[in-house]
């Protein structure tokens, strides 16, 4: 028998080497209790959470939790069905209505996860003879969407407008083209030059999809994301988003003004051939989305937190993914995986959880300690976080 798992031997070996140093498995952390959007108990220790994407801290919002409980009582624990069969309840329609209102768009389609939203929309829009033009640092769900649709894939250098334009100009004029961009790139927390990119895409006759997973609720005047902030949201054909970040639950969606959008419900396989979200989840999402429409104060505090953490880490001597804070993600660049893992462990021992990110998820083979802020982090917590970074950084030799 040829062992099909033998191809993973190098990863098994790398893991064993890393764990033999006595390191806690960075990819096997268990949260024993969760006290709030910013604090959990891990390995018995009170731990500040700085790697959750829970940007707006909606997970423990009283109205959100109440809506979930009510739906659980009234509609049961699950739908046990596809959206196009027995899996569309009143709650799913209300959730889509909330999204249409939030984005001021004509159509909204809710998927079971954000991953499936990209998988479904990209694979359905771009078939075998069409071209998908994407940023090389795109999220895995975007690449997987391309693979599922068998489209021709053209990658361009991260956030490089000229590289995008040059490639668009080389494509045959009459073919279908989908340019896929992200508002905020989740590894370094940098923002895309959407204004310029959407303009060159439209000039080349391409349709544009923007994934705004990491901007919903706090970037742009109405929290609609980077496309709104840069004034090009009306030229974007499809916006993809998720409920598992700012919204504080799980699920994904696509919103659009395309007049034929509704047909996608029947032809999009990752929408049709899976069970819909449980009633409690769509109820919490709906309540959260509606509250995010009026989250001005929280938004301001989140941005303030991001600036304070970025400035503080820079002052301590850490190398960061961006010169200025551009989003609610601050990436601390580590010299290598070993140092990164040691630093991650030292922070955890200090009672701070961040994400250890490494290739292939990261660009250019980098090891990152990725921090994502929450609007519920208090000013004191941010100061505490910086203190922990100082101690762990000196202990591991990352900073002097």
């Amino acid at each position: 028998m040829n062992d099909l798992l033998a191809k993973f031997d190098p990863i098994i070996e790398q893991r064993e080497t890393l764990l033999s140093t006595g390191l806690t498995d960075p990819f096997g952390l268990v949260m024993e209790r969760v006290e709030s959007p910013t604090v959990a108990i891990c390995n018995g220790n009170r731990t500040i959470l700085l790697g959750t994407y829970n940007y707006m801290g909606m997970t423990f919002d009283a109205d959100v939790v109440a809506a979930g409980k009510k739906a659980l009582d009234e509609f049961g624990s699950g739908t046990t069905g596809s959206r196009v069969l027995n899996g569309t309840y009143q709650g799913h329609k209300e959730c889509e209505a909330a999204l249409r209102e939030f984005y001021a768009m004509d159509h909204a389609m809710v998927f079971s996860t954000g991953y499936q939203a990209n998988l479904g929309i990209i694979s359905t829009l771009a078939g075998k003879d069409d071209y998908v033009i994407l940023d090389v640092d795109s999220h895995a769900s975007i690449y997987d969407g391309c693979a599922l649709g068998n489209a021709q894939i053209v990658a361009f250098r991260h956030n490089d407008v000229d590289a995008l334009e040059k490639r668009l100009k080389r494509l045959p004029q009459e073919t279908g083209k989908l340019v896929v961009l992200e508002g905020v790139y989740s590894m370094l927390g940098d923002v895309a030059p959407l204004k310029e990119m959407v303009a060159v895409s439209k000039a080349a006759g391409a349709m544009v999809l923007v994934d705004e997973a990491h901007s919903m609720g706090f970037i742009g005047e109405n929290g609609r994301g980077v496309a709104e902030a840069q004034g090009v949201i009306d030229d974007v054909d499809f916006i993809i988003g998720t409920f598992s970040k700012s919204v504080g639950t799980v699920g994904g969606f696509c919103v659009s003004n395309h007049p034929k959008f509704e047909i996608l419900r029947l032809v999009c396989r990752p929408y049709v051939f899976t069970a819909s979200l449980p009633p409690s989840v769509v109820a919490t999402a709906t309540t959260s989305i509606r509250k995010l429409m009026h989250g001005g104060n929280k938004r301001a505090h989140l941005i303030e937190n991001s600036k304070r953490l970025h400035g503080g880490l820079k002052e301590l001597g850490f190398t960061l993914g961006t010169d200025q804070p551009q989003s609610a993600i601050i990436a601390v660049i580590m010299p290598d995986l070993e140092t990164g893992a040691a630093m991650w462990q030292a922070l955890l021992n200090e009672g701070l959880y961040v994400n250890l990110a490494r290739p292939p998820a990261t660009p250019a083979g980098m090891t990152l300690l990725r921090c994502s802020l929450c609007a519920e982090h208090s000013t004191e917590q941010v100061a505490e976080i910086l203190g922990k970074f100082a101690i762990a950084g000196r202990a591991t030799g990352c900073i002097a």
């Binding site: 090389v136 021709q152 053209v154 990658a155 292939p360 083979g365």
Partner: protein, 82 residues
């Protein structure tokens, strides 16, 4: 020099600055195994080849190209199709 020889010479010239390990390169050199390029180097190299020949090499095509010789063949085909 035939057209193909010329294309090969141009490709070899583009490889040169990316060949940090100073490996001897010929038609049979494999990009992944012999030159040991990471994905970002591959992207930059492919972009340079695309610019030099004014063609587009999709990621689907890249997956099929293992050696320098195969790349030259692809570039020749793409240029002829224009």
């Amino acid at each position: 020099m035939t057209d193909r020889d010329q294309s090969l010479a141009r490709v070899l010239a583009i490889i040169e600055p990316f060949n940090k390990k100073g490996i001897e390169v010929d038609e049979n050199t494999r990009f992944a195994q012999d030159l040991e390029w990471d994905s970002l180097t591959v992207l930059d190299f492919v972009a340079s080849v695309e610019d030099e020949f004014d063609v587009l090499i999709t990621m689907n095509m890249q997956a099929e190209i293992e050696t320098v010789g195969q790349l030259v063949d692809s570039v020749e085909t793409l240029s002829a199709d224009k």
